[in-house]
């Protein structure tokens, strides 16, 4: 019964999206299909990205109109399932939309890379570029790298390096815990690799993989971490898996520092609240206090405009860069033809409103972007989600310093 009902829901959704898409076509816009979880347990992530895009599309359409037209987003629900994302891909290609954008879930991304490559090989006159706006497993631009896939966000390896570089000198023992799927497994491995390489003095006293989105009560994990004697926990958990875990840790009154990869995403600050003060760290591509710290007037305006009608933080600077680079590439190629735009995207550069440099690396189609290791504290100008606490940079790394080697051997189509 389940699959049947879901199928109906999926088709209804696809049908609505189809109608929306056709209306958009009449206005002569450049459409970008967007696939992410818009329902279910992880819907808050997709919803937050959608709100980011509404803001960023307006801005880029004004600053950098592609071929004098406007970008238009056509959303689809992935439910965080690879098969749902592939249905969306089918619908995108049926409408001859040359761009598909997807952020959440590296397992979904792996399926999409494969699906897009196959589609493009079979339909040379209707090809599509996959714009990855946040699926982070580094495999996607290493072993699994593909000409049609461009990742506009720092991968797990870059984030692990930034996190490890930001660890305090006094730290001696850590516990590493991640979600048991492509993203978490990759982070688990890379965190350990960079710890061994950059901080051999830190002892890993325990490690764990937990099922994605299944655990309700994290107190047993907390007692286990406590028993291991760890001073800090390093985790890539996100959404409910992070919120519930931090809550359980706070309830146990356990003096533990949390070095996370994704605590800054929407809902994290509310769920953690005051218990995370000076104890919660994250690695982010941007946070609202970066312009304040760097005294960038233009950057601060970017933040205050957003805060006028949003009560959660603006983080996705990488997606501003995504749209800017795409617009520049389309203008350079003078067409939306997927192959020509893909070639134009290689080694393209852009700046964010603060003046930082970004580059789309040609070898593996991985964006080089600045990253900020940040602390959750009261000592900030802009707080997160009205908690009175916000993010403060403890270590900033420029994109060019995160130019890690890749194992990608990219095959470029001849035409």
């Amino acid at each position: 019964m389940m699959p049947f009902v879901r199928q109906i829901a999926a088709s209804a959704f696809a049908l609505t999206a189809l109608c929306l898409g056709q209306v958009a076509h009449a206005q002569g816009t450049i459409k970008i299909g967007y696939v992410d979880p818009l329902s279910g347990a992880f819907a808050q992530q997709g919803d937050a990205s959608l709100k980011h895009f509404a803001y960023l599309f307006d801005r880029v359409n004004a600053e950098n109109p592609p071929l004098g037209k406007k970008f238009e987003i056509v959303p689809y629900d992935s439910k965080l399932q690879p098969n749902e994302a592939l249905i969306a891909l089918k619908s995108v290609t049926d409408q001859n939309i040359p761009f598909i954008m997807h952020c959440a879930g590296s397992n979904v991304a792996a399926a999409l890379i494969d699906g897009v490559a196959k589609h493009n090989a079979r339909n040379p006159d209707n090809r599509v570029i996959y714009l990855n706006c946040g699926a982070l497993a580094s495999d996607l631009t290493n072993e699994k790298c593909d000409f049609w896939h461009f990742r506009f966000d720092a991968n797990t390896g870059m984030r692990a390096e930034t996190l490890v570089r930001g660890l305090p000198k006094t730290l001696q023992s850590v516990y590493v815990l991640n979600q048991d799927y492509l993203f978490g497994q990759t982070l688990q491995k890379e965190t350990k690799d960079f710890l061994a390489k950059l901080r051999p003095d830190i002892k890993i006293v325990g490690e764990e993989l937990i099922p994605l989105g299944k655990v309700k009560d994290f107190s047993p994990y907390i007692s286990k971490i406590k028993a291991s004697g760890a001073q800090a926990l390093i985790t890539g958990n996100w959404g409910p898996d992070l919120n519930l875990m931090m809550k359980a840790g706070a309830d146990a009154g356990f003096e533990l520092d949390y070095y996370t990869y994704l605590a800054h995403v929407v809902g994290g600050a509310t769920a953690v609240g005051a218990t995370g003060e000076n104890r919660l760290y994250t690695v982010t591509e941007f946070h609202p206090n970066v312009p304040v710290e760097q005294k960038s007037v233009e950057g601060e305006k970017f933040v205050t405009e957003w805060r006028k009608n949003h009560d959660f933080d603006l983080f996705q600077m990488n997606n501003y860069v995504l749209l800017t680079m795409l617009a520049k590439a389309i203008n350079k190629a003078s067409t939306t033809d997927a192959y020509k735009v893909a070639l134009a995207l290689e080694d393209i550069t852009a700046k964010d409103p603060l003046g930082h440099d970004y580059r789309m690396r040609k070898e593996d189609h991985q964006l080089l972007e600045p990253l900020y290791a940040s602390k959750f504290t009261k000592d900030v100008k802009y707080d997160s989600e009205k908690t009175g606490l916000g993010w403060k940079t403890v270590a900033a790394v420029e994109g060019k310093d995160l130019d890690q080697p890749t194992t990608c051997k990219m095959k470029r189509p001849a035409s």
């Binding site: 279910g40 347990a41 047993p220 356990f254």
Partner: protein, 315 residues
């Protein structure tokens, strides 16, 4: 040793929370034959109601008002919804409650948004009750245990010692006979459904700030509550209680065991590697598959004892 005691306490708290949810569901399931998919959604509603009420008049009133609101929602669902689709058989009822899950979740998302609610433990209960081997046992968990024990006692007294309980018990097994004796069976059904939803609401009030109040909170809780009900057996509150505690304990203890099935087999001379048949599964540490164990148990109980642990009739 210390980890055993801490885990025992954690398992007990979680098990009792499961029981509060499952007891209502098992009453509804065994009496009306309706597997109410939306039970965990009502639990979520309870948490959101409690957050709203506690914002304005405090946590203690919320402890009473939110369950009553949930009971009212339950009564409305039964009278205007379930009773109408009842003639079309169990599949229709099942689909009806299945649809409710999506409607309730979407409504919650539309009213309160998708962000988690800042629903926190009241300050009066936010202190460590005692410290055990360096880890705090929060007073709020003690309070949860107290409330759930109180609820268990109240249900037991009502079912075993009152006239209403007698009729409910009768209607559980022989609805037609009870009806022939002149009792208003539909009213009994409504009462039980509303009561069950009220219990779920109560669990939501105390679970909402123990866990995190957000629109996806029902997703992970729904399936595990079904496991408890099926495992415990139809029409048996005792079975439901044992199953809840057992599931709480299993999930808590599995996490702290790092050994795999392969490690257990090693001393008796069976060496496993990823090469051997099923080796991948048998060498995974228990901690990694802990949250899935209850579902495995449900499969086994359905295969070998379909009536559940203490059930009085087959599922």
């Amino acid at each position: 040793m210390e980890i055993v005691i801490v885990s025992l306490l954690n398992g007990l708290v979680y098990g009792m929370l499961l029981f509060m949810l499952a007891s209502g569901l098992t009453l509804i399931f065994s009496m009306m034959g309706v597997l109410n998919f939306a039970h965990a959604s009502v639990w979520m509603l309870g948490a959101y109601f409690a957050y709203e009420v506690s914002r304005f008049i405090g946590f203690l009133p919320a402890l009473i008002i939110a369950p009553l609101l949930c009971a009212a929602v339950g009564a409305a669902i039964e009278v205007w919804g379930l009773r109408r689709v009842h003639h079309n058989g169990h599949v229709a009822e099942l689909l009806f409650t299945f649809g409710l899950v999506f409607i309730i979740q979407r409504s919650v998302q539309m009213i309160w948004g998708m962000l988690p609610m800042p629903y926190r433990v009241p300050a009066a209960l936010d202190f460590p009750l005692f410290t055990i081997y360096g880890a705090n046992f929060p007073a709020y968990r003690g309070f949860m245990l107290f409330i759930s024990a109180l609820m268990l006692l109240a249900i037991w007294l009502m079912l075993k010692k009152t006239r209403i309980g007698l009729i409910i018990q009768g209607a559980l097994t022989h609805p037609n006979m009870v009806s022939s004796l002149g009792h208003n069976v539909p009213l009994v059904f409504t009462t039980v459904f509303a009561g069950g939803c009220g219990l779920a609401g109560l669990a939501g009030v105390i679970g909402g700030n123990y866990l995190v109040t957000e629109s996806s909170m029902a997703d992970a809780m729904g399936p595990i509550v079904f496991v408890v009900v099926v495992f415990g057996g139809l029409g048996s509150l005792g079975g439901c209680f044992i199953a809840s505690i057992l599931m709480g304990m299993i999930q808590t203890f599995a996490v702290v065991i790092d050994a795999s099935i392969g490690d257990v087999l090693k001393p008796i001379g069976i060496a496993l590697s990823s090469e051997t048949l099923l080796g991948e599964i048998l060498t995974v540490p228990m901690a990694r598959i802990g949250p899935l164990l209850p579902y495995l148990l449900m499969v086994f109980i359905l295969l070998f004892r379909p009536r559940g642990l203490m059930g009085t009739r087959d599922t």
